[in-house]
Every structure is written in C-alpha cells, then in structure tokens.
Symmetry: C3
Subunit: 418 residues, 3 copies
C-alpha cells in the first residue's frame, strides 16, 4: 500500500462512530478485513478480565441539541465527536443553564470540538466548539441522545502472518477512537499496510486491532498461554502527522525491539523516549506481570500536538507521505529484527581460512567488497553465542545488511551455526 | 531547636577542653543530656578494641609559658588550644631556644593559634600565634603543664530513638575536639536537634557522641552484634559554616543513603564527593570488614577552609541559619529514607481499575491531581519487588512525597503490599 | 638497548628477504639470537594447524625484468620488495603488454614500490614504481624469478624470561615482512630490547617471533596446553615511526592489559582504539575460542601512514627516539602489570594502628610522605580481594608506584596478604 492508499483507508474509516464497544468497531473491522483477513472476537458484557469487567455495549443512532426553533445547534450527524462517548440516553427539554454541566468545550481553542468519554461512570454530555456555545442564547433547548447501553460484547480482531518459528511479534493499534484521524486511524492504516507487506517472515506476526486499555487487557486475559510466545511488539499510534518519528522504549529499556528501533532511526531526525506507564497499550503489555519487550512508535506523541483529541485531528492532519515514512521504518525495523540472531563460530580457534572456501573471491565484483570481508571477520570473531548480528553491526559500525549478508555466506560455508 | 538554639549549644560547649578522653568529654555529654537523654559508657584504659588499645585518660588543669617577669605569654586559661592535646606534665625553666621545638605556630596565618595533638606518642607542646612567638624575647621562660595521663576511661554516649523496626540508622559525630566550633560542635548541635525532631520513625535511630577514630573503633568493637542491624548512617562534621553542603558518599558509592542524599540535595547548590579513607569516622564504618552504608555530611569539608584546626574556628565562624539548613537537609533525607521501601503489585497483569476503587475521585480537589494519578501508575508499574519508591521517584521525575503518597493510597486499597 | 641500538638492529635486518617461510626468516632469527637466546622451531610443510595447513617453503635467489639491451629495469638485488612474495619461478620473454597483468604500482605514489604477497594462490609478479613503469618502452623483456616453492618448514622462535610464577605474558611480533622497517623491524627491535631489560619479573614473559597469521595460528595450535597460562599479552607492530602511541584494546575490552596500557598512556598524547578483528596477530589471540587478554601497541597504526606497505617504510622512516619511547612505555606497562595484584586486609575491622608499627615514621624523610600515608589507607580500605592495586591507584588518584610501595610496606608489616 502506498501512502495514498493508506490515506484512503483513513478517510474511509473516519466517519464511523467507534468506541470501546459497539457497531462502529464492528464496521471498522469489516472494512479492514477487505485489506487483510481478520479473525474477529466478541467477548460478552460481564466477562471478567483480570481486574476489569467487560462493560455494556454502547450504540448510538442520533443525538442533538436543538433550539426553540427546532434547529440543531449541536448535531451528532455532523460529527460523532459531539457526543461524549458512552453517553446514556437522554430526551429532555432544559434551559441552557441546566444543560451547561453537560457541555464540554475548549475555551483556548474556540473553534475546535473536544473528544470526551465516560466509559465507567454513567453520564451523558455533548462536546462543541466554544464559538458554538458562545452563540447559544439563554432559553430552552431540546436535548436528545438516542443511544443504548445494553448487554452485548467487546469486539476485537487479529490478523496473523505465520512465520518460520512460532515465537511472535505483536503489532497493536487501538480501534476505539471515533472521528480522530491521526489517533488512531493512521496507526490502523500503517498496521494494515505492514501486514500486507510481510513476506514469509521469520517470526510469526500477530496484528491486534482492539479498543485501548480494556481491549488490551481483554486480549491479555484471554491469551495467557500465548503471552510466553510474544518476544517483541510494537504499539502504533499517532502514525501520520507531519512531525518526526518518536519511539517510546519498552519498560525493560533495553529489549531487542528497543535496540532495533534505535538502530533503524539513528540516521534520521527522531526522538527516543523512556518508558512511562501512560500512553497507549504498551501500558498493559509492559505491566509488571507481563513486562513484554513492547515499545511504541508514533510521530508526534499523544497530547503533544494542539489538535490532539479534538476535531482538528481530521484526515487533513494526516499526510500520505508521513504514513509511508512510518511504514518504511516499521518495515526496516522488522527486517532487522527478523534477521537478528546469534550464531556460533564452528572454527573459533584463530581465524578460519576464508580464501580456500572461495569466500574472498565471492566478493570480487562488489563495490563494498572490503567491508563485506571485514563483516565476515567481525561475524566470525563475535559469534560466540553472546553477540547477535545487531550487536555486531553496532560494534563494528558496518551496516546490518552487510553483517547479515556475511553471516549468511558463513552459514552457507558451514563456518557458523545458529 | 532553631538555628539560634543550636548556636547557643555550640557557644555553651565551646570553652570546654575536650580530647579523646577526660573530664571535658564527660562535661560535654552532661550538657548534651540536658537536651536529649544519653546512655554514657566508660571504657577502661587498656581495653583492647580491634587493633587498638584504649589509651590512658588525659586531664589538664592549667598550663602556661611565663616570661621572666612572671607574665603568662601563653595561657591555657585563655584558650585550651594553647596546649598540644595529650601533653605530658611539664614544669621547667628553659630558654626560648630550648623551648622552640615544643612550640607550634602557623607562620602563614600569624594571628591564629593552631590545634595539635599527640595522642599516641608521649610528648608535650604549646600552640601559639606566630605574632606571639615573634614578640617573645630570648631568655628564660617558666614552662608549666599541669596535666595527668593516668589509668581511666574513654567516654562516649548514645541516644536512641526507637523505630517501628529494629533495623538501625546511626548518626555519628566526634566529640574530641576542644575549642573548635565548626569542627565539631556544629555537628554535635545538628545531631542533637535532629534527635529531638524525630517522631516515631520507621528505622531505629542511634545517635553516637564519641571521640574520633578510637571512639568509633571502640564502639564498633563493643557492638559487633549490633553492626548487622545498621542499615544506613551519616557522619556529621563541619556542619555550620557559611559554605554549601557537601556529601561524601559511602565506600559502596551507591548505598541507599548515598542515593537519598543526592536526591535531597539535587535542587540546591551542593557538592557530592566520592568516598576516600580519610576524613571522619566514616573511615571506620566503611572499613572493608564493615563496609556500612555510611556517608558523611558537611558544609565546607575539613581542611578546605583556612580556619580549619585553628583558633579561627570559633563560634562566630558558625552561622545559626547554616546550622538550621544542615538540620533541614538531614530531616528531609531521613524522611525519604524512612519511607523508601519496595512494594509488590498484587494486580500485576495489566493495570488495575483505579476508578472502581475511588482512587481517581480521591484526587479530585488536589492541585497536583494529574501528577498524583501518574504517581499511582508508576508505583503500580514498577512495584515488582525490584524498585524502591526512591527508584520510582527518580525514574518518573515525580517528587518523592507524591510517590510515597501514591504508594500509601495503593497500599490502603490493597493493590500493593510490602 | 638504547634507541640507537634498536635502530641499528632495524638497519641490520632491513636487507633480508623475509616471508612467511624461508631462509630470510631463519637469518633474521639468527641475528636476533645474538641479542637474546632463542628457541627456534621448524614446522614442516603440510602440518595441519586448526583450519590451516603450513604451506610450502618459499626461497628466492634472484629476480629481474631486463630490457632488450639486457639492462635490469626492475631488480630484486636492489630491493626485495620488487618481487611479489611467494612468486612462483618464471623464466620467459614477453612483451610489456603481456607483462602488465603481473606488474604492481602505486599510481598515486609514483616513486614508491608497493609490497604485495600471494601466499595461498600460486602466482607471480613484480612491484615497481609507477615512474619506472612509465619509462618502460613497449617491446620485449626478459623476465626471470629464480625462486623455489618446495616442501620445507615454517620457522618461528621464542625467547622466555622465567618469572616468579608460571602464568605468562606473551609479547608477539611478526617476522614475515621483507624490507619494511616500521612494519615490523621496529616491533622486533622493541621486543628484543624489552626482553633484554626484564629483570626477575613476576610473570613469565614469552617473546614470540613468528610470521603473521599462519605463524600465530601455528603457535596457538602447537601450544594448546600453554594457552591457559597466558594471562596477558601485547602485539608489537609499527613501533618506531614519528607518530604518537596507539593502543588497540583486546577483544575483551576491559582486560587487565587494556587497563594497564590506558593507565600508562594517560598523561601523554596517545590514542586508544577498540578491538577489531583486523590488524596483526591480536586477531588470532583474540579469536573467540581463545579470547585472550592481548592488545596491540603501535605508533601510527597500519594503513594509516602513506609509507605503509611501500618502499617508503625504510629505516629512515623509523626514529631511534621513538623506538626508545615505545620501549619505555612497554617497560612502564609491564612494571605496573607485574605488581598489579589483589591483597586482603588482615585487620579489616576499622583501621589498624599504623603508628605503633612505625609505618608513619618510616615516611618521615619522604617528600611525598602525606601521599604515601594516604596510599596506605587506600590499600587497607580497598584490599578486600576485589580491588587490585591498579584499581586502587585509579580510584584514589595516587600514582601506582606509591600505591604499590604502600602495599609492600603493609605486606611487610603483615597487615595485608595476597
């Protein structure tokens, strides 16, 4: 998928009213499944997942605030951000003063509509531009939220790319945000494109499309036996804005995924931040009981751009070329991760004689013949079972691809084994 | 005790002629016991303490050098610094030339009287200003030291503040210096004020008032069974001059006390120096056989101010506000140390749901509600038995008090245990 | 040996045509044995040494390219660099165009003759100045290489200085380069001078004079049982040019030899580079199966000076004072290494009383008495079996000699033991 393709997916998913449960999520997953096959799971309301309980399912058909003339001053049909997610149904007539406690605005960004939720405390509310509120006269308004909070299910989906080994890499993105493009339709689009591009990988790659927090906790609770197989992971969020890439390390801080991302990002403008227990679902994967090697890749991280969690985070805020750039870094990172293995030199006493095996000749025509030869010496010297190919690339300063190529040639010559 | 109160104690103790043994030490401890109760110990001359032997007890009533007219040119009654500590008795008439080998001056600080000792080599001598010496005519002088070196005892004292646990923190200060204010009446005064201010601490705090070197060695030799209980310690010396605070690390270099002091001092002008086996009684506590987590807190360290070990180190050299400042840092440090514990998250798989336990609501009215909530997430995330609350404060950048408060709330909610 | 003496040895060895085998090596070792006794070993052609086989022995009597008038345009008698080492015998008449594939020049250094070898691929060739080649007219040339490639032996030699313990330090230098002075007659000369200067050392020192790569591999293969005794080592190469000293660390990176060289070099202009599996025989000693604590000392490292592997690397390129300087650093390094041991404080509880043992008095007359006393306190404090004297010197900032002297005094006083 090109950047334009990914941007098309973002635009297509944008209008749907997603939340942590409900039909907006189901429709989102249906659209994704047009790109990559999905296994979709429905977890019933009331299911206990660790310390949490799957909540009631929320669905909404319409909502508005209408003035005395019947004009919809605030209208869910224009933007699903106008309703606080998980709002209970309401049908009432009330004065502006009675309504005010239920209205959310951004006084410092008066033309933008904020995004608000109230998942676990039953409540209702509307989000609107401060400018809209300022224009509302005193007097009575008709207030309607045509929503349901019923027994139902939490919906999430997986797409698996089988690898040569059963050890897994998870790529996770949250699907619970309604009309917000960078957060996180961009992450979803990059994940989909990444899933499409994997070709017979070493690891098994599991792509997770699920609501934030409760979704990740639900997945972890239902996959306790699989978690031991998860060796690496990446949470994708805010993946398409114009900022440079930011990698947030896993809780371990020196997990292989942390080192791979630092390696892949080293030659471009980027930022690497330490783990903190706030952000996206790395919080759950990196909770102390799991402590997985899962980091998070974003462009501008959450809450660091003014459009964050507002109607300003629309498809125009996401750039096709930045989606493509995020995708490219993910592909590079997984390409390194997939080849980063430890070998053991089978001829560890002194150097083996490369010449008699034709390993020098084989480099004859290459412009990087000298570096390729040096890479062989480095791989032989450090292949003691302690150093991975990424260690060797970092220590030698030779590009990972050259090191991996040398390892492959030495492996073919039976000078090293895994 | 205020800075002024501590300064009053310094002035009150200043005139006494202290040494490593003798009545000056006993009188000093009597005065201290008016502020905090003391257990005083007398260890007889000849007692073997590790590689050392408790020496004879030294007492002195009078000493002078008088000129031919009978005028006291150098007079112990004016300052006890005039006599080399542990001087043997002398009663003689001698010429200035015969006397010279027994006279100690500071040619480069001609108006100051030096402080000298000769504990373990029997000798006698006088200390005087170079200016005084320059004014002494040739000719005969009457020389008298009315001292005794007899079987007796070494005297030291302890004040214990019982804690909730039997593990101990020791606070040690040397009591062997005569009329020198910063070194170490200031340390004594801060220790006394600190002892008074402790209120039901976690650790048991043991304050040690004892002569330098031989006193600490004696205490260690007599408390071999207690040393295992000593988890942390601080030696207080030179605690009242106008310089900024200097913390000297324990031999371990990363003991908890080292980290606590670095943490408490981080936002103010200060210096942290590595351990060296020279200084005060941290030398003994950090000898390799003990290797205790004991550091040393001073303002300007020994030998780094011109008044050090001279008559210039008088009560005017010590400032009430600096005594108060040293005390305040000690109190902060022990407040952190007392609360710095490791917890284990009882709900380590994903985040527990804080909302249903009212842990978010409880923060409602606080100005730092967001930080307090973040502190809970950090404590939950890092409470794996490996990270202490100080680790968490350092890693999160959240103030220790907020972290400790979060831990307390989580402990009350039974989400973590010790 | 003085710098001048070493330079004399360089000049004396310079004309010989050395290679990885042959009479030039034997003659070289004979000359060395006039300075230090050698045990010389002959390893027959065909002997398997790890992954390698000792090759046929190469000898050469004469070689030239003569023009139609019979004038020798390129003449082995002028410089043995003119023949590619291990050239097979040739006797032919050919045109310049036919000859060209066998001619090696340095177009960018037109007046210099390059150094080339073809040990493991049978071939022949001449090396000459680009200027010479440019002056050669088209037409026919008589080409003669009067060499032999026969069953024979690989020759290497050892000189051993017995130590007080059987643990060994190896000093290795390659003997396979023909008329190249810095690389490596300078290394040979420094090794010889170093061997002469050792006087009853602690370690057993084994000096190895052997061809590069195949020589080191042969030695390792024949000394498998001895390798366990090798605790430290140094490869000497390019030891006499005008550049500053460069130390290349062992593969371990923190071996004692690495720390010793860093310590000895710290106060002078120098460079320390990380290990890489390219260079001299540290490659073999540091192969993963051995991973010995062997570093390499050079002045300007190989390939970093324009004269490298050319006729410009002649005796004038090597300076007597630089040979002396390299020697001096080696001597200092081995002096530290030989004394760098771990002690255990026999009186570890508090400080022992130095005064009663006369350990203070013994310092009376020394200008560094205060530092020497401090050194005793440091040695006592850190002698817990974990810290070596070099550790103590580094941590205290006190010169190693002073620390070692303090350890010696404390050992004599039975306060520490090894």
């Amino acid at each position: 998928m090109t950047g334009t393709d990914m941007h098309g997916l973002v635009r297509r998913l944008y209008p749907l009213c997603r939340s942590i449960t409900g039909d907006g999520v189901r429709r989102t997953l249906e659209i994704i499944s047009e790109y990559v096959p999905l296994d979709t799971y429905e977890v019933p309301t009331g299911t206990e997942v660790f310390d949490w309980t799957v909540p009631r399912e929320w669905n909404i058909r319409d909502a508005f605030i209408a003035d005395a003339t019947g004009r919809r001053v605030v209208d869910f049909q224009e933007s699903n951000l106008h309703v606080v997610s998980y709002s209970a149904p309401v049908s009432a007539t009330m004065t502006l003063d009675e309504l005010r406690p239920h209205l959310h605005t951004l006084p410092e960004q008066p033309s933008l509509v904020p995004y608000r939720t109230s998942y676990y405390q039953e409540n209702w509310g509307f989000c609107l531009a401060q400018e809209t509120l300022d224009a509302m006269a005193d007097g009575e308004y008709e207030v309607r939220i045509d929503s349901t909070l019923d027994e139902g299910a939490l919906t999430y989906a997986e797409h698996v790319v089988p690898g040569q080994v059963s050890e897994e890499v998870i790529v996770s993105c949250h699907t619970c945000h309604p009309s917000l493009a960078n957060d996180n339709l961009a992450g979803i689009a990059v994940a989909v494109a990444l899933a499409q591009s994997l070709d017979n990988p070493w690891y098994t790659y599991r792509f997770l499309f699920m609501p934030g927090t409760i979704g990740a906790i639900t997945w972890l609770a239902r996959n306790a036996d699989r978690v031991g197989k998860v060796k690496h992971g990446l949470v994708l969020a805010c993946a398409g804005d114009s900022g440079h890439l930011t990698y947030k390390k896993s809780r371990r801080g020196n997990a292989e995924i942390d080192r791979v991302l630092a390696y892949v990002l080293r030659d471009r403008e980027h930022e690497i931040v330490e783990f903190s227990p706030y952000g996206y679902d790395e919080r759950q994967f990196c909770s102390p009981g799991f402590n997985l090697g899962v980091g998070s890749l974003s462009r501008t991280p959450y809450a660091r751009y003014p459009e964050y969690h507002t109607s300003g985070d629309n498809p125009e805020f996401v750039l096709p070329e930045k989606l493509a750039d995020t995708l490219s870094v993910c592909q590079q990172a997984f390409s390194v991760l997939d080849r980063d293995r430890r070998f053991v030199n089978l001829s560890p006493y002194g150097e083996p004689q490369l010449g008699k095996r034709g390993l020098y000749d084989s480099l004859g025509g290459r412009s990087d013949a000298k570096q390729a030869q040096l890479a062989m010496l480095w791989v032989l010297n450090l292949s003691d079972g302690e150093h991975s190919l990424l260690d060797i690339a970092e220590r030698s300063g030779i590009p990972f691809d050259t090191v991996a190529g040398a390892a492959s040639a030495l492996h073919d010559a039976q000078l090293i084994k895994e």
